[in-house]
């Protein structure tokens, strides 16, 4: 069953000069990696799905879909006088849902992202970048999302923390049947965690399972042979 369908999406003042002719659909439980060079419109695609930018074309969302969004650059000021607990309470707490049962407390949301309940009283500004990212995932978890959109999960996390954020997302996906959309530059992550990949360079240049669409010719077309993707496959031994 399709949870999100996008038909001929265009964004930009000059008829699609930011994003042009994007069409794809996602089923429940899919994991989509969105790849493309800087300025390719990846974040714009997310913002269009959220309804934050005007667009033409169609974005058909499943009725009653709950979207969780974790932005790339958190536009939160780092010295805001707000605790993690207060931050989580700013959004409406979603009621129990079929795919989200168990602990609905804020402490429970923090626990599901690997943070202890002492973080409820920690100010946002006192968090490390990894803890902030986890708090933002907890923020999404509080809303019991069906679709989790993650703009460059590891952009602000050190190498040691990287694997665990993906594992965390993967675990949440397994437990709650989430559909995931993530922007990533890391091919090993894409092969390991995504079952679909969307190549963007203002226009859509590929869509499908990574093993089928990610040929070296496709990547060269997308990135101009600059090799901006990081291939870490050897580390995973596969």
């Amino acid at each position: 069953m399709s949870i999100l369908e996008i038909k001929n999406l265009k964004v930009g003042p000059k008829n699609g000069n930011i994003l042009n002719a994007v069409s794809f659909s996602l089923d429940k439980g899919d994991s989509l990696a969105v790849i493309g060079p800087n300025g390719a419109g990846k974040t714009t695609l997310f913002r269009a799905i959220l309804g934050a930018v005007p667009y033409s074309g169609e974005i058909i969302k499943d009725k009653n879909i709950r979207i969780g969004y974790v932005p790339q650059k958190v536009d939160l000021e780092r010295d805001l006088p707000i605790t993690v607990g207060e931050f989580l309470s700013l959004r409406t707490h979603a009621v129990a849902a079929k795919n989200w049962d168990g602990d609905h407390s804020y402490a429970g949301a923090l626990k599901s992202v690997g943070l202890g309940k002492e973080f409820l009283n920690t100010k946002i500004g006192e968090l490390s970048s990894g803890e902030l990212q986890r708090s933002l995932i907890a923020w999404a978890v509080v809303g019991h999302p069906d679709l989790l959109m993650f703009d460059e999960p590891t952009a602000s996390v050190d190498i040691a923390g990287q694997e665990t954020v993906y594992e965390l997302l993967h675990k949440l996906q397994d437990e709650h049947g989430l559909t995931l959309m993530l922007i990533s530059h890391d091919l090993s992550v894409i092969y390991k965690y995504a079952n679909k990949v969307l190549c963007l360079n203002k226009a859509q240049t590929c869509f499908g399972p990574p093993s089928e669409v990610l040929s070296s010719a496709e990547l060269e077309k997308l990135y101009g042979g600059g090799g901006k993707l990081y291939h870490h496959m050897h580390q995973n031994g596969n």
């Binding site: 913002r47 959220l50 934050a52 536009d75 939160l76 805001l80 006088p81 707000i82 207060e86 100010k123």
Partner: protein
């Protein structure tokens, strides 16, 4: 104590509490100078009120509401930074206001005179302040999130664009209510300084918002008593007291 003094004390405290609270929200989005400049937009409205003999509060509010509406609409259409727009609109308003006012009126409008208020002014100030505080507390979650991160606000189904307009309107209301007492130039300080002070020492969002209001009231009361004792204008003394609090708070700044 004379009644007029009590009026002054009461009205100024109400306005300082509301102003401090507005400021605590405004500073979530580095809107400090926007607030300062915004208050100048009231000038032509006040001048018209004086010329045509209607309550300057009304004139101030109409001009402020119009000004914020223009800024809000143009910002949305053009994505120009709000500072730029406020900068243009406020100097325009200042120029028009200066042409409409005589020199003597201008001085009063710029610096205010809280000792000249009547019971109706006190009533307006108190009820508008009460309305502002209620609205801010009622929509606390939506305003706080929208001002901190419009994208997150949108992602949870709030309407950040509409909420921004609502917040700017509340802002305008606060400025209009306070301007009679503090004048155009000092109104910004009522909004900015207590909130900036609170931000230095707050340990949570809740403490931040309440501290902003309480520090505003403390500054107003101290300023008015100092003015009474020294025989000086209360407005500037409020700013000096509040500014003193701010620099003390810097010493206790967390993080």
């Amino acid at each position: 104590m004379e009644t007029n003094f009590l009026y002054t004390l009461f009205a100024a405290s109400a306005i300082a509490a509301a102003g401090g609270m507005i400021g605590s929200f405004a500073l979530l989005r580095r809107m400090a100078l926007v607030g300062d400049a915004l208050s100048h937009i009231a000038l032509p409205g006040i001048a018209l009120g004086i010329i045509f003999n209607f309550n300057p509060f009304l004139g101030a509010f109409v001009f402020l509401a119009l000004g914020t509406l223009i800024i809000w609409a143009v910002e949305h259409r053009t994505k120009l930074p709000v500072e730029t727009l406020v900068g243009v609109v406020f100097t325009l308003a200042l120029a028009v206001g200066a042409l409409l006012s005589t020199e003597e009126e201008l001085l009063e409008v710029l610096f205010g005179d809280i000792s000249k208020i009547g019971i109706s002014d006190v009533f307006i100030a108190a009820s508008v302040s009460f309305l502002i505080i209620s609205l801010l507390l009622l929509f606390y979650k939506k305003f706080a999130l929208t001002l901190m991160s419009p994208d997150l606000s949108l992602s949870v189904g709030y309407k950040p664009h509409f909420l921004e307009l609502l917040f700017l309107t509340i802002f305008a209301l606060g400025v209009a209510a306070g301007i009679k007492f503090t004048g155009v130039l000092l109104m910004g300080s009522i909004i900015i300084i207590p909130a900036a002070t609170a931000r230095n020492i707050a340990w949570s969002m809740k403490s931040y918002i309440w501290l902003s209001a309480v520090l505003g009231v403390l500054g107003a009361v101290a300023g008015i008593f100092a003015a009474k004792i020294l025989g000086l204008a209360p407005g500037p003394l409020f700013v000096i007291v509040a500014g003193f609090f701010f620099f003390v708070s810097v010493l206790f700044r967390r993080n």
